[in-house]
Symmetry: C2
Subunit: 198 residues, 2 copies
């Protein structure tokens, strides 16, 4: 027999279901957990249950939140004239990390993907439209740079532009710290198209 | 603010303490957990607490176990004349995976490392000596191929050989599936030294 205990196999099984964790990492983590102090493991188990119990979607931006509306939507210092549209809550975190953006967000919950049967009705598109009042002056489309993200960007642009709001998207180009030599053709093409006067 | 909730930050924090999981992976896992069904997350939390509650050390081989003695030590089909000495419980799993070894194990709980202040008294060395009765005919030293493992192998060989038991160690050489071109000098040297007649 491989594992000398059922509870150990069970734990390894649970961990190996998580993204980016294979069978080997799951085993390594489980072995590590066996050596941790009881309190730390209990704290971890509690954090797991806690996060599921407390988490809900913000009624305004559809980000994960513990309170409604979320801390960004309810923050009086945020600029209410700009809404940044993203696919997932993790994208909000990525943008917040820059400390550059002071507007609001709208989490679509994915991107358009006809092959997977995901249409506009599966995303929070109608919820975005209901937020489009006169105080909103700019919509920044910050979708992922892949086919689905592109399709969603085009779809939303067509939908939002007639409403008279300024619609922008993130710049494409060579990433900072990237090497021109290793950049792909599509990225270099976009960087050339978007060149700026210095 | 980066995360819109304390319980989310707490979960990310807990996950990032695990081996091989950085801040980014922890965030990715936490986001994934938020989308899992409640039952699965509760099952996972329970598995964590369970494993700590049920796990103990086998009084004979010092492997992790739920029952005492462990399922390997109490298995009448295992060959009681051979004891394979390893550093950690994960090494037992690695050897069990081969389905080749039918003897017993002894888990030292680490290797000798004077720099880290780990001496023989910190490992289950005395516990190994108490197992050395007349029925034990071979001790296989399966320690890690690094300086600490080497030192432990030499130490244990000196300790066990005078007792009249056969003491062996795992063969060193080119790993299966490995490429001779990319093998390091030390490995090739060991493979040459240990060459066998075909």
């Amino acid at each position: 027999m491989l594992y000398t205990s059922d509870s150990l196999s069970q734990l390894i099984e649970e961990f190996s279901l998580l993204p980016g964790i294979g069978k080997k990492s799951a085993q390594r983590i489980a072995m590590y957990i066996l050596k941790l102090p009881n309190e730390q493991v209990e704290r971890m188990a509690k954090a797991l249950v806690n996060v599921k119990e407390k988490m809900q979607y913000c009624v305004s931006c559809w980000n994960f939140t513990e309170q409604n509306p979320c801390s960004i939507c309810s923050n009086p210092k945020r600029d209410r004239s700009t809404i940044c549209v993203v696919e997932e809550p993790s994208d909000v975190i990525a943008i917040e990390k820059t400390n550059e953006y002071k507007g609001l967000y709208h989490v679509l919950g994915g991107s358009l993907s006809p092959l997977d049967g995901i249409g506009p009705e599966d995303l929070k598109v109608n919820e975005l439209l209901t937020r489009m009042n006169s105080s909103v002056q700019e919509i920044i489309l910050a979708l992922n740079p892949n086919i689905e993200g592109e399709a969603t960007t085009i779809y939303l642009t067509r939908l939002l532009k007639p409403l008279g709001t300024k619609v922008t998207r993130l710049a494409r180009g060579i990433p900072i710290g990237g090497d021109l030599e290793f950049a792909d053709e599509a990225t270099i093409t976009r960087a050339l198209e978007g060149r700026v006067v210095v």
